[in-house]
């Protein structure tokens, strides 16, 4: 499909605290091309994570429209949205959010449980994803047996195992030391350049943001400026 992968028009998000209305995003417009690598920066409360959640269909906007690969996700029902998320988006969290009772391999296999793949096919894909992030030898380890950097790489493997259109990363290096953070960013580079994955990354870290093709600065719910 031609055209941008992500199109955001007049996106508004407000939260209610009792009678008080707290605006977070105020009529934001945004376009992200296929294969782009975008870093979202801005001070706390600027709306970066809210934007990421809305792009991933984890939250509903107060107003405006989000189209991803031509699909207006605001029009999808709860089950359709869940199915769309499973198919189209890979999430990478700051705190990795792996299930502690499952092995690395089982964590990566998790999104594939929602597909019609057989168990051997699921395992083959999970192992390939783990190999891609360099963790084949840690497949049977549980998260508590892995370092933070390794956990995040398992998280990345889980995000890419379904071959989604879009990777949404919320402070992916925020809890890692510099070396582990660099390894994760190297992976993102490879996924973007070699696999053509579209990546949107929220970060406070200018070094991490510098790896992206575009850096968008949000302030008070609007796009303040753009670099790159």
């Amino acid at each position: 499909m031609d055209g941008p992968l992500v199109e955001v028009r007049g996106l508004t998000k407000e939260y209610r605290r009792g009678d008080e209305v707290v605006p977070v995003l105020a009529g934001l417009d945004l376009s992200i091309a296929r294969g782009d690598y975008v870093a979202l920066m801005g001070p706390s409360g600027s709306g970066k994570s809210t934007l990421l959640n809305l792009l991933g269909g984890l939250d509903q906007p107060t107003a405006g429209e989000i189209r991803i690969d031509g699909v207006s996700i605001g029009e999808l029902g709860s089950n359709e949205l869940a199915a769309w998320r499973a198919r189209s988006v890979g999430f990478i969290f700051q705190m990795y959010n792996l299930l502690p009772v499952l092995t690395a391999e089982q964590n990566v296999e998790l999104p594939l449980l929602l597909t019609s793949l057989s168990k051997p096919e699921r395992l083959a894909r999970a192992r390939a994803a783990l190999a891609l992030v360099g963790l084949s030898d840690r497949a049977r380890h549980r998260p508590r047996e892995l370092s933070g950097g390794q956990e995040q790489r398992v998280g990345i493997a889980r995000a890419i195992v379904t071959d989604p259109l879009l990777l949404l990363c919320d402070e992916p290096t925020g809890d890692l030391d510099r070396k582990a953070g660099d390894a994760v960013l190297d992976l993102f580079d490879a996924l973007n350049r070699e696999a053509g994955k579209t990546i949107v990354m929220v970060t406070h870290d200018p070094r991490a943001a510098a790896r992206a093709r575009r850096i968008l600065h949000l302030e008070k719910g609007v796009l303040a400026r753009e670099e790159g």
């Binding site: 959640n53 939250d59 089950n79 998320r85 499973a86 969290f93 502690p100 009772v101």
Partner: protein, 387 residues
């Protein structure tokens, strides 16, 4: 996108393994509840088995004052002469003791027609003929025969804790003339000849304890029972005639309303278990809020999350229920052997297993439904923020 239920198994197993000690305690509580249920069901079965096998065409006549008061023997003859009665038999409680004075045996002195009425006591025509021909003969159940090693032809000394012999002898020598087998009657009963009993006891001579009447037409039970009691109304010994089923029920009710007791105890225990299991499930879901949010983020639907939590709850109650009922089955089998003389039908009836399966289902759903619905309604963004 629907999730195949079996695809949730790795998640289910992982969730259950998270707090093994807590899981073990929860399962142990459910196990005890179902163990208690199984044992009480076996007790109820033992106490009401007589009611279940009681015949619809049989009437039992006893002294109106009490069943331990006898009736003149002539009553037996007069009842038997009624047109509606096919045949009748008399029954006297003997209070048998063999070897150990602390072990009460079920011994009755019966008239000849008894075995024509209770044809489900299988002893063969030869055995019955031998018994009828021998005044000191006894027909014994295969259960008691096995217990004491009795064989046909053996003569055993039977004592009574009620009666003494006129001749001062300590025991009644009785000759085992037949051994009966029955699918639904107590296999531990001993039957003596009424004539042998009546001619040797020091008191209660020419009286009978019960008269059992088999009717020609089962639909005449009401009119015949009224006719029997009317026959002896205003006499010194009035009678009370009921169907065998009503008498058996009345016996069971003397111990108490077993059904109500069982229902009350089981309800109380299951309610406590419901609270324990629901608390465990709620705690488990609360602890896993961020993980459930991650599952939803990955594309698991609200219904899949609901199913996961409910399945977890059902699995816990299923394991506890199976272990509890299994233990109860083994316990009743082990206890049944030693209780055989008092409670020959001390076993869990098939219906109780079905009831238990329904309780497992109900307990699992009731304990899991609130946390499952909470998990289903979880807002992903809010839940992820708590991680």
């Amino acid at each position: 996108m629907a999730v195949a239920p079996f695809a949730l198994l790795p998640l289910l197993g992982g969730s259950l393994r998270r707090h093994r000690l807590r899981l073990a305690f929860t399962i142990a509580s459910i196990l005890i509840a179902f163990l208690l249920f199984g044992l009480l069901a076996a007790v109820r079965n033992a106490l009401t088995a007589g009611v279940e096998v009681a015949g619809q065409d049989r009437l039992i006549t006893t002294n109106k004052v009490s069943i331990i008061q006898g009736m003149p023997r002539a009553y037996f003859t007069r009842i038997g002469s009624l047109a509606a009665v096919r045949r009748s038999a008399s029954l006297n409680w003997f209070g048998g003791i063999y070897q150990d004075p602390h072990v009460q045996l079920v011994v009755f002195a019966v008239s000849d027609a008894y075995f024509d009425i209770y044809r489900d006591l299988q002893l063969g025509p030869a055995g019955l003929a031998t018994w009828r021909a021998d005044r000191t003969g006894a027909i014994v159940g295969d259960g008691i025969a096995k217990r004491y090693g009795w064989k046909v032809g053996d003569t055993v000394p039977m004592k009574s804790n009620i009666y003494r012999r006129k001749d001062g002898a300590g025991a009644w020598p009785v000759k085992i003339t037949a051994i009966y087998h029955s699918e639904n009657q107590d296999p531990n009963t001993v039957f003596l000849h009424y004539a042998y009993y009546n001619e040797t006891v020091t008191f209660g001579v020419d009286s009978v304890g019960w008269v059992i009447s088999q009717l020609k037409d089962p639909t005449t039970v009401e009119t015949t029972s009224r006719a029997v009691d009317a026959m002896f109304a205003n006499s010194r010994t009035e009678t009370k005639t009921s169907t065998e089923k009503a008498v058996a029920q009345s016996f069971a009710n003397q111990i108490g309303n077993i059904g109500a007791i069982l229902t009350f105890v089981v309800s109380a225990v299951f309610f406590a278990m419901l609270l324990v299991t629901a608390n465990t499930m709620a705690q488990s879901v609360r602890e896993r809020t961020p993980e459930l949010a991650v599952l939803k983020t990955l594309g698991f639907t609200d219904n899949a999350v609901l199913t996961l939590v409910l399945a977890e709850s059902l699995l816990v109650t299923l394991v506890g229920g199976v272990l509890g009922l299994g233990t109860a089955t083994l316990a009743t089998a082990a206890l049944g052997a030693s209780l055989k003389s008092f409670l020959p039908f001390f076993q869990i009836p098939p219906l109780a297993y079905l009831q238990a399966a329904l309780y497992v289902l109900a307990l699992g759903v009731a304990a899991g439904v609130v946390p499952a619905v909470a998990a289903m309604r979880l807002q992903i963004v809010t839940a992820l923020r708590t991680s």
